[in-house]
């Protein structure tokens, strides 16, 4: 049976990808940030997930205004890194898990989540930067990501985005779907984006460390309550792009405790300001044996 063993939460700033790709990770500006992911890379080497269910948002890359899906699940075999205007990131193609993805789609749609099924999608920094942070740059001798990835894109670009509670409930449905899949698989679910940031207008550059850290506290301890926070609070407290944090609630909703199991173990927690315009938060939660 497939099992969700852990959830991972991390920001996904494009400048982080650029810093990696241009070899700047040891510069004084970037060093503290990347040091914050040293533990995570070692942890992933030990965990060896088979599949990562990766919740992210497209930043006007694969989806233009022609079609804006609220929730889109990738059921393809492969996804190429996107050219976001600076050329594609020099990272491997992403390999999907079509059978598990199709299984999840079927289960979750029957649970009244109105997914869009996607078979063709270039993936932008929202998906590739978390992979780089958690797995490092794959060596040329074995140039591939160490696991399969199911991309799950959430609309957080055009308002209204899905509510925190909708995301949390969706996480529950995803858990049910994954854990009903026949094959033995070690599955992680990642929530990416955020934390506080605003990329627009005279209010650009807003950062709210206190709110961010309270978000991390509550995500660990009382996610169902946190899911009730309305959009407007994200905008007001964490900046217009801070709304990306609703995606973390999907990953959190898929953890065992939400379905009546034991509380997850907080394996790692990290917070750093700034990466470019953004506050970087990172959290690893492991499910515990019942």
């Amino acid at each position: 049976m497939a099992k969700i063993t852990a959830s991972v939460y991390t920001s996904h700033v494009p400048a982080i990808g650029a810093a990696i790709d241009l070899g700047k990770t040891q510069e004084p500006y970037w060093q503290p940030l990347f040091a914050g992911y040293d533990f995570s890379k070692e942890w992933e080497k030990a965990q060896k997930p088979d599949v990562v269910f990766l919740v992210f948002n497209d930043h006007a890359t694969a989806f233009s205004l022609d079609m804006i899906p609220t929730f889109a699940i990738g059921t393809a075999a492969e996804y190429q890194p996107a050219d976001e205007g600076w050329g594609p990131r020099p990272v491997p193609a992403v390999h999907g898990h079509p059978a598990l993805a199709a299984h999840i789609a079927q289960s979750v749609i029957q649970d009244d989540f109105d997914l869009t099924i996607v078979n063709k999608m270039d993936v932008d920094h929202g998906l590739t930067v978390p992979l780089s942070l958690m797995f490092g740059q794959p060596p040329q001798s074995d140039y591939r990501w160490p696991c399969k990835v199911i991309p799950f894109a959430v609309n957080v670009v055009q308002y209204p985005v899905p509510s925190g509670n909708r995301c949390f409930q969706l996480g529950k449905a995803i858990r049910k779907a994954i854990e009903s899949f026949d094959e033995d698989l070690n599955v992680q679910i990642w929530g990416t984006g955020g934390m506080s940031h605003q990329l627009q207008g005279p209010r650009a550059g807003l950062i709210n460390k206190d709110w961010d850290n309270r978000f991390l506290d509550r995500l660990i301890a009382e996610p169902a309550e946190l899911a009730k926070v309305p959009h407007i609070e994200y905008v007001r407290e964490a900046g217009s792009e801070g709304i990306e944090l609703v995606m973390w609630l999907i990953a959190r909703g898929a953890m065992a405790d939400v379905a009546g199991g034991p509380a997850p173990k907080v394996v790692y927690r990290f917070f750093h300001v700034p990466a470019s315009n953004t506050a970087v938060g990172h959290l690893i939660l492991e499910n515990q044996p019942a």
Binding site: Q198, A204, R236
Partner: protein, 149 residues
């Protein structure tokens, strides 16, 4: 009754909702076209001619030519779309975001390294934070005319 827009009272912020999206449709689709290298070349070779291929308003075209991202946003642009113009110009997200504050690149960068902009006074229109309309433009650009920040 129309739907609530509880986000209209956040200073220095335009939420990209359905109404903005309709207003900015062609502006944003023009931006998307810059994801192809050959279109970036064509745009750089003759910006006006390239813009004229799109059903944008004259104001939207002027805003793009002026690289005034706040103006672009008022006409319906969204930052993730507008970022394609910045990418074409070789600008980073930090440079683009900073350009909307009036600060110099260095001023904005220093603000971020110092922990970013505080939410204090910037939650509601009518407060007195640095993102409020009465404090624009920010940084040295603002000091010149108002003598205070």
């Amino acid at each position: 009754m129309s739907l609530d827009k509880p986000y209209l009272d956040v200073p220095g912020t335009i939420i990209f909702d359905a109404e903005q999206s309709r207003k900015g449709y062609w502006l944003n689709q023009f931006c998307m076209s810059l994801m192809k290298a050959e279109n970036r070349e064509r745009f750089k070779a003759d910006e006006r001619a390239y813009l004229d291929e799109w059903a944008m308003t004259e104001e939207q075209k002027q805003a793009v030519l002026a690289r005034d991202l706040n103006w672009c946003m008022r006409t319906g642009g969204n930052i993730y779309f507008l970022a394609k113009i910045g990418a074409t110009d070789g600008k980073s997200f930090q440079q683009m975001a900073g350009s909307m504050t009036g600060m110099t690149e260095e001023e904005y960068r220093n603000m971020m390294v110092g922990g970013g902009r505080s939410p204090e006074g910037n939650r509601f229109l009518g407060e007195d934070g640095d993102a409020q309309p009465q404090h624009q433009p920010q940084g040295k650009a603002g000091h010149k005319t108002t003598g205070s920040n």
